[in-house]
Subunit: 420 residues, 4 copies
Amino acid sequence: MTITPPALSVFEALESEVRSYCRGWPAVFDRAQGSHMYDEDGHTYLDFFAGAGSLNYGHNNPVLKRALIDYIERDGVTHGLDMSTTAKRAFLESFQNNILRPRDLPYKVMFPGPTGTNAVEAALKLARKVKGREAIVSFTNAFHGMSLGSLAVTGNAFKRAGAGIPLVHGTPMPFDNYFDGTVPDFLWFERLLEDQGSGLNQPAAVIVETVQGEGGINVARSEWLRALAELCERQDMLLIVDDIQMGCGRTGAFFSFEEAGITPDIVTVSKSISGYGLPMSLTLFKPELDIWEPGEHNGTFRGNNPAFVTAAATLDTYWSDGQMEKQTLARGEQVERALRAICEEQPGTQFRGRGLVWGLEFDDKPRASAVCRRAFELGLLLETSGPESEVVKLLPALTISPDDLDEGLRTLARAVRETA
Amino acid sequence: MTITPPALSVFEALESEVRSYCRGWPAVFDRAQGSHMYDEDGHTYLDFFAGAGSLNYGHNNPVLKRALIDYIERDGVTHGLDMSTTAKRAFLESFQNNILRPRDLPYKVMFPGPTGTNAVEAALKLARKVKGREAIVSFTNAFHGMSLGSLAVTGNAFKRAGAGIPLVHGTPMPFDNYFDGTVPDFLWFERLLEDQGSGLNQPAAVIVETVQGEGGINVARSEWLRALAELCERQDMLLIVDDIQMGCGRTGAFFSFEEAGITPDIVTVSKSISGYGLPMSLTLFKPELDIWEPGEHNGTFRGNNPAFVTAAATLDTYWSDGQMEKQTLARGEQVERALRAICEEQPGTQFRGRGLVWGLEFDDKPRASAVCRRAFELGLLLETSGPESEVVKLLPALTISPDDLDEGLRTLARAVRETA
Amino acid sequence: MTITPPALSVFEALESEVRSYCRGWPAVFDRAQGSHMYDEDGHTYLDFFAGAGSLNYGHNNPVLKRALIDYIERDGVTHGLDMSTTAKRAFLESFQNNILRPRDLPYKVMFPGPTGTNAVEAALKLARKVKGREAIVSFTNAFHGMSLGSLAVTGNAFKRAGAGIPLVHGTPMPFDNYFDGTVPDFLWFERLLEDQGSGLNQPAAVIVETVQGEGGINVARSEWLRALAELCERQDMLLIVDDIQMGCGRTGAFFSFEEAGITPDIVTVSKSISGYGLPMSLTLFKPELDIWEPGEHNGTFRGNNPAFVTAAATLDTYWSDGQMEKQTLARGEQVERALRAICEEQPGTQFRGRGLVWGLEFDDKPRASAVCRRAFELGLLLETSGPESEVVKLLPALTISPDDLDEGLRTLARAVRETA
Amino acid sequence: MTITPPALSVFEALESEVRSYCRGWPAVFDRAQGSHMYDEDGHTYLDFFAGAGSLNYGHNNPVLKRALIDYIERDGVTHGLDMSTTAKRAFLESFQNNILRPRDLPYKVMFPGPTGTNAVEAALKLARKVKGREAIVSFTNAFHGMSLGSLAVTGNAFKRAGAGIPLVHGTPMPFDNYFDGTVPDFLWFERLLEDQGSGLNQPAAVIVETVQGEGGINVARSEWLRALAELCERQDMLLIVDDIQMGCGRTGAFFSFEEAGITPDIVTVSKSISGYGLPMSLTLFKPELDIWEPGEHNGTFRGNNPAFVTAAATLDTYWSDGQMEKQTLARGEQVERALRAICEEQPGTQFRGRGLVWGLEFDDKPRASAVCRRAFELGLLLETSGPESEVVKLLPALTISPDDLDEGLRTLARAVRETA
């Protein structure tokens, strides 16, 4: 396939220099269905990116599309702030019945605004309010968002520099396996907490991703997560799991922390919660933490009702039984086999992942970007992650067919070979 | 009309105590069309609230609805981060042709994330980055959002307390008419800037709303805005107009600052930009400020393409000529007449406003809430604003018919009388 | 008198560029007695500077000198941290008997470290600890010290820039007469406090100088100070009077706030408290505020016992009756007459002051420095103050003889004339 | 010896609850000579505390006393801000000739105010100004002072809590041997610096004590200090050695870092620099860092000339050859032998130290305080240090006689035995 760079004039003339994905993928996309995107020149792309984890059920999933169009057609409430609506009730009931009750999770549900960073900001505010302390511990290579509260607990130096002010009240700790197992888990963190002379401000909370997506597909072990949960309990810190990218089934179970058997105090959910790529977020927390005053946190687009409609549809369709989890794990094994083969063939590569999130790391760091560029030429959408963009990130839709998955993995293998 | 409080069980059981609007309006809304909302028990409400300014073209506006359904039906890209899409191009072209060019505005367009607070965070980051200073000046009773950066420049003490950390780097200055004209404009602000011993950290930027919506419908005079723009120029501070609630025609012209004849350095736009209540935001800035590095600010839902589709449709439908502005000003006069009559009849009341945003203030502050409660019983949706909720805020759709507007104003007058 | 610039080699070679007074007064001083300093070349200087207010009783006052040498001779404890010593007891008893009891002041005494900024840091810490809030209100052109806590409430932009970090948690308010009486006192401050939407973080305390020394000899009126004290009481803020430069009799009474009839919650004292130019400071506060834990604030040189000895000697010698206060006010009238004559003769000059602190302001700002340079050539030590060094500051020793005072005032008049 | 608690009435009635040493040592001290203090009831105490390191040459050292009295007698300038004086010149020349030149140290000398925390504040300001960054790295159990800048890089949680505001811009790293050698030095610190995703704000400087006095007599190895200096160089961070307690010969050489062969960028000196317990401090830095503007940092008591006089006398008397260093090391061996014997006899004890600073740690932490209490009853002044006051700290004067040292060590051994 040969792709002619399209005339991007209005984008170049009018859109800010901050734009990014459009530079790596110089196409003008027009339509999308399932695991495929189509540009205006008629090219087809297999999508191993899935809206950075926002499209776990594929593009324009027909089940959700039907529900969405029906809702719009019948003039269902579109914009509702935090008014009660029939669409919100349906979502809440479905979330309670399909997700919370079967897992014995006692969470209250907050609609903090429709983006991930809204959910993180609300989580941090609540943790600080509950504990009466301002310090938050985050982890190396964490990514939590771009507004000032979330950015202060995000690791990436380039993104942090964008703040234009010193980012404070956050202290990074080593994520699981940061020293390749040579240092006992939480040695530094626990010692700082126990030493009255350590200089660490006593944290209100710890915020963690179970698998760091932007940070390079770093997978925390279940035993590490359990030890972290115990440390939080012992040291009177709230545990916040940011499940924005890894929740909604990405790692198999609905929540990524289920496998570890822990119950975080606060959970943030976004990206694939609406299922259709529509902006929606949740901040979940244990009921005893629900000390918010009415309206103490607000926001115009908290009640994005079309998103509630597609969200309820995803839960009813995919999460009323354990089928989706099983399928994701099976697809994950398919990916793992392919990556193992690539790494055996190509020296200087490692892979890691869980469920349907996988990373292929290159010792020769720039090669990861080269692989993505070549993949794009071959019709496969893939992005990098990691502090130096040294990891190719595989994030196919959970609903991808085994054949499409196989095709993409073969294209990836070819791109790796051709950049050797 | 008698309204039976509906069974709100799942909302009460599951949704966080932070929920707010649903408390004042104890109904479960189901459908909406134009200026009317319908609850599940069959009651009809006339909407003088318009999604807090997000529904300037009414609920589920048929023109936009058609465009939206067509786009979804044909599997247009829904979620696109900052990839180039045909929907984004159509929006950019329409925005350029209908809005920027006719007004000679040179702005670059940034999609900072789909909520107002995303747009404000991006504006503040950019201002600090450009000027290399961290301080921002805001105004008494300003409202800019709930994430930490925006909250630090928001006036409301109750919202600020939610942060759980000291909010710094912002200094409030008196908004126009804060002292009822007894003190020269900018006396304090300018003196602080000129006095090398004043203790004010040199600001990177000033952020202002031309009409403070949440702050109590405080209308800045054009001459005050012009003097502020000149002060910013003279003192090397960027001027940010937060046009999230007052833009998109709310005050008549598309941007609320047009009347004053100023060109802010940075403008934030959200709420009604999509026209359909879908989350979408813009941060606009002069091209010489566009020093962002690619990806320095990002976010999952920046590319909410269905919103681009409805946004382009609003611009093409309503903003290709000056008709909408004229109509809004005419409707505004209708409101003004009605409010004048109320205030003449009812001692202890004042009114103020511009275009189709108006406030009715009560010396007996709690009465404003009583009026809204009574209006709700009478089938009219109205909320309060102001630091002590002492102002009834009128924010009807710009597309409201004269008859509906008249009906609502009569209901308001009745509610005022019945709470005297 | 002709002064040959001495060879300053070791100062220039070794001492940091931060040095300052030695630049304006290019002499190497060797001895000093009363109101005179002597350089190594045999020149004599009349001192209208008095160690920036640290030498209210003149250089090497013989009464204090005797007590000091006796103490050193008999091997009295020199360095005592906060151990109990006979010298500290003697000081505390003298302070209680001569100062606190006669004025009915209930203060507890803290030795916070021997410099003014130590005293301010301790005052701010205590205020924040007592009130549980971090915000402090200071005034335009305030000067409170160079360590980060004190610097954050200091007005001078040049000093503030030295911090290298954004200075936060402080908000400036207009000092008395900042707008030449055209704006009611505390209009802005009180409105911000009362308006729940103002954006001002609720302050723990207000810190104020009754006469701003570094800020330009700005004299607060008694009624302004009383209104401030009442505002603090009404709004639950602690009132801190920084009496470091204006206390110890500089304005007449021992404390500069006595004239206004107010009792601040916290008072800082330093500079002339030891009377001999030895480092010593006090932080005084109402007993109900004494919630310090033992050792919660400490410091190596809190127990500078030789300073306690000279301090007690000043109190016993000068403050057992009202004589010193009367004499200071009389000397002040002598200064006032002379300044009035100068201002009548020289257009573009104004004067102001209280007790023995006076300022002579020049509309032609650089002229103030020219006057000080010329005065130095004529054998008179004088420095400038004010945000643009536009004020000549007169701070003679309280013990200066009428003849010496007259001589200095005549020299000043000559220097003013010769720089016209 | 039996000690009757004296009547402490004025101390209890008037002095703030913050007072501390006077509680552990309930005596009223009157005189002091060499290594002995005398209370007003005629009791004698052997001093193993030395003004927390401020009295390295003993109390009221006769050589310094003579110089001091001569200076006062002849009316030498006492208080001089940063004017040039003959006393300052003599000190600068002596410091250059005895200290800087023989060690090939190129430092510029700043007089930042007379206390340790003034010196640290100036060092941090300068480092931030030079590097244009605000972040500082400090170490676990560091102690640098009580003003806000210094407190932010101090480890002790109790002291930090006194600030009343969140302390920011500082990040603690593990001091040498924090993990008993099980973790490679700087593993964590270096990884954070190298990982662009770590979340650590790029530091302007690192501040370190070579031996942590307040932190529990933690002795950094020379190779650790060298590796730290190399890390700073490699990563463009300034190295600040806080030599306030460990300088002036406490560890043998004049500067404690000489043994390691490093040349810090900035050095803070205080405590024993005057030699007589008089407040005095220095901030030393490499000449290329001397970017201060004149007067950018100031302070009233920077020119404590009597302290310059005694300081010059200590340098001329004790530091013109290597004798003092040899003697200190010899005395240190005497202490080490005694501590070894104690630890061999008493299980659950460890000792460590360098030169004449030593610590005796008790596994049974409260026993350290019991030992100090018992020692006091036996006429020996000793204090504890460490985050839980678990270490008895030995800090005798460097000029102590072998016999006095032996007596004190035997008293210590007895106190240890009697608290077993």
